[in-house]
Amino acid sequence: MKILKDHGDTVGILAVWILLVLLFGVLSDHFLSANTLTTLAGRIPALTVIAAGMTLVLIVGGIDLSVGSVLGLSSAVLGLLMVDWKVPLVISAPIAIVVGMLAGTVNGLFTVGLRIPSFLVTLGMLEICRGAAYLVTRSQTKYIGASVEPLASMLPGTTFPISFFLSVGVVVGLQVLLEKTILGRHIVAIGTNEHAVRLAGIDPRPAKILVFLVCGTCAGVGSLFHCARLGSADPNAGSGMELAAIAAVVIGGTSLLGGRGSVIKTFIGVLIVATLEAGLAQIGASEPLKRVVTGAVIIAAVSVDVFRRRCIGENV
């Protein structure tokens, strides 16, 4: 009972996911199988880490539209290093992550230093990174092959890929950061009332910059998972992923106004988005129809969340 009280939101959204799985299980003969779970687990790592980073950005009261492009640029850099320059994964992977980190830091510095809305800064960064990805690869997909695939191989003894476990690790890590550290408390406080945080004698700027840095880094890590799954680096990688990530975060109940949210629930949001995708494909829905249904689910999920909060008298 106490678990239900403290984590009512989490239980609720988990129930939605389970219902969705059961629904597709009834609609399709093949959906409820270990195979489906393995496919899901293979698909979601990139989106999971990106949505995890995005959660922090939304909680602090910002938004990062550049994550998809940053993933594209990091992929492009990874492809360039591994294919053209024959740099091994252990060296090129950290470099790809650093590229993401740098993009995130620039987002943070401009947003905080010049007090430009993060929407605009990251919109610019979205274009810059996508363009840079094309420049780096001369607009060609780099086939990396087996040297990048170990990340997507199954963890011994399980039917889930290593990247899945790593992405869950990122989710847990960021949730712990959010709940158990001073930095996490500052992030939530800034998102609730930045003005009050300042007057309480805390400089909100470092924490805000750090959040954008973390989000960019997550996009860099996501690029590794993405390339590992496909065995190639595509300069188009991750286009539109910022919207999928925001959708997952919002389905997970994080407020776009800042101050409230959870990385764990974002993970369940990712599961819901991915399950919809896979389930609809399996019952033979067309690509356009999939998009219509996914859009409707986003609106429905947020409406239910807002409605529930109004009922218990919370300010939304």
């Binding site: 158990k180 550290t181 001073i182 930095l183 996490g184 408390r185 500052h186 939530v188 406080a189 609730t192 009332n193 003005h195 009050a196 945080v197 300042r198 007057l199 309480a200 004698g201 805390i202 400089d203 101050g259 409230r260 919370e314 300010n315």
Partner: protein, 511 residues
């Protein structure tokens, strides 16, 4: 003229009353005759603004009646009042800074044809309206955001006059004006007078009232305590009426603290032209009051020395620390200061977060080790705080939004208690707080001082300062104009100091 029984007053107020938690208006009687400028004076919280808001339909009174040219008049909203020709020019202006002058004046009745604004007609109407207030030089297409405060004030008056205005209420219309603009405003007021418009003129500035108004009513604690022709009185009379005959119900501080070292020294602090060369010092264990009219620069002084607003020049020294100016509140807090802001909901609290998160916001390093929070320690400390301050909350996890104003204020104050600050700045610490919470906040501040903190309290309630403080400073128009101790303070001398900076001589030095 006003004694002529045959002339019906434009506006008559009969036994008007209003109460919120306590009465703010008690049986006010007032008349505004055609062509009369009727001044309204009073100290902070005397009820001037409430009276004005009732007249223009923004507040509904609890008792009493209004008559507009003899007919009963009970405006339910601003529109009702406007229809009856009663229009108020607010202290905080209501202009939209991105729209043009013409659009602002006629915002709610733009001339239109099939949904499109008829620009030519609008310009013609605006030119007419601007001429009426002597702003014929101003292009109607100018964007309001590019104009100075003085012109905006006149614009607001032009907008009022563009309606069928019979009773004009002006609330501190000259606060942001230069002398030249004041002269322009006054010549406009005189012309309106000649046209038979009645004007209620709310102001703190005595010389202005004497030059423009024919009658003055003085409010004190929501009651109209005096009413006379302005020619008959001298400034001291005003001050005496606003203050009451003798100061009633003043609780002296029971025990005098022994003051130790100086914990705060402020030297020649300036913020633009709004705060000018403010200097004072505060000793350990002392409670220092900062009195003055609303807008005299008390809050700004507090914010500037806390680093929340950039000071232009001057120096602030906390304890043994280096002298200088703080550029961010985090520096002030690191130096041993704390601040309880005036607007707790906007400036202090994280409303959607728990009491615990709010109470420990400034002390997280105490409740953590190498950046890792210890929630048990936070809970423990929050529970202790709730016991000590008698904060009525069910658990430390309850959100502060659900608490009453008094309890919210205690949380905002409690945040600084575990830090043992050297200096605590409190801006209106008991505003909007019930009587019981008020008493416990007072006790708390006394205890904090007894433990050696220097406490600086800004308050608009003189009785609060009298019962709480060891010493009271008075600000007026951005300057320090007086310093009093229990031996020589009274409402009268403090009011006199609070009005001191508002003479014409000082205005000249601003412009």
């Amino acid at each position: 003229m006003q004694d002529d029984p045959r002339i019906e007053p434009l506006l008559r107020v009969e036994n008007l009353s209003k109460r919120y938690a306590s009465p703010v208006l008690r049986e006010i009687n007032l008349e505004i005759m055609p062509g009369e400028v009727h001044a309204l004076m009073g100290a902070n919280g005397a009820g001037k603004s409430t009276l004005a808001r009732i007249l223009c339909g923004l507040t509904i009174p609890d008792g009493g009646r209004l008559f507009r040219s003899g007919k009963s008049f009970a405006p339910q909203n601003k529109r009702d009042a406007q229809t009856a020709g009663v229009i108020m020019v607010m202290q905080e202006l209501n202009l939209l800074s991105t729209l043009s002058v013409a659009e602002n004046i006629f915002l709610d009745r733009l001339p239109q044809r099939a949904g499109f604004i008829c620009q030519q007609q609008l310009t013609r109407m605006a030119v007419e309206a601007l001429q009426r207030v002597g702003l014929s030089d101003l292009l109607p297409s100018t964007i309001v955001g590019t104009l100075g405060m003085g012109v905006r004030q006149l614009l607001e008056i032009a907008a009022a006059l563009a309606r069928r205005c019979q009773v004009l209420i002006l609330d501190e219309p000259t606060a942001a004006l230069t002398q030249r603009e004041v002269d322009l405003l006054f010549s406009n007021i005189r012309r309106l007078q000649a046209d038979g418009v009645g004007i209620l003129y709310i102001s703190h500035r005595m010389d202005e009232i004497r030059s423009i108004a024919s009658r003055v009513s003085v409010l004190r604690d929501g009651a109209c305590v005096a009413q006379y022709p302005t020619g008959d009185v001298n400034p001291n009379q005003f001050i005496r009426d606003m203050s009451g005959g003798e100061s009633t119900f003043v609780l002296p501080r029971v025990k005098k603290n022994k003051f130790r070292s100086t914990v705060l020294t402020v030297e020649k602090l300036c913020v633009g032209v709004r705060i000018r060369e403010v200097s004072f010092s505060l000793r350990s264990g002392e409670i220092l009051g900062l009195a003055g009219l609303v807008g005299s620069g008390r809050t700004l002084t507090l914010r500037a020395l806390f680093g929340a607003v950039r000071a232009t020049s001057g120096s602030v020294t906390v304890g043994e620390g280096a002298s200088g100016l703080f550029t961010h509140p985090s520096q002030a807090v690191a130096a041993g200061m704390g601040m309880v802001p005036e607007d707790r909901r906007h400036d202090a609290l994280l409303l959607s977060q728990s009491v615990r998160v709010n109470a420990t916001l400034s002390t997280l390093p105490i409740h953590s080790k190498r950046g890792w929070l210890n929630v048990h320690s936070e809970r423990h400390s929050t529970n202790r705080l709730c016991d000590r301050l008698k904060i009525a909350c069910k658990t430390p996890e309850q959100t502060v939004d659900e608490l009453s104003g008094g309890n919210q204020q205690k949380v905002s104050l409690g945040r600084w208690l575990e830090r043992s600050c050297e200096v605590l700045l409190c801006d209106e610490p008991t505003r909007g707080v019930d009587a019981a919470s008020k008493a416990s906040i007072h006790n708390l501040l006394r205890n904090v001082a007894a433990e050696g903190t220097g406490v600086l309290v800004v308050s608009s309630e003189l009785s609060e300062l009298f019962s709480l403080c060891d010493r009271i400073l008075v600000m007026s128009n951005g300057r320090m104009t007086g310093e009093f101790t229990a031996d020589n303070w009274s409402e009268e001398v403090i009011h006199a100091a609070a009005f001191k900076g508002l003479s014409t001589a000082h205005r000249e030095s601003v412009t």
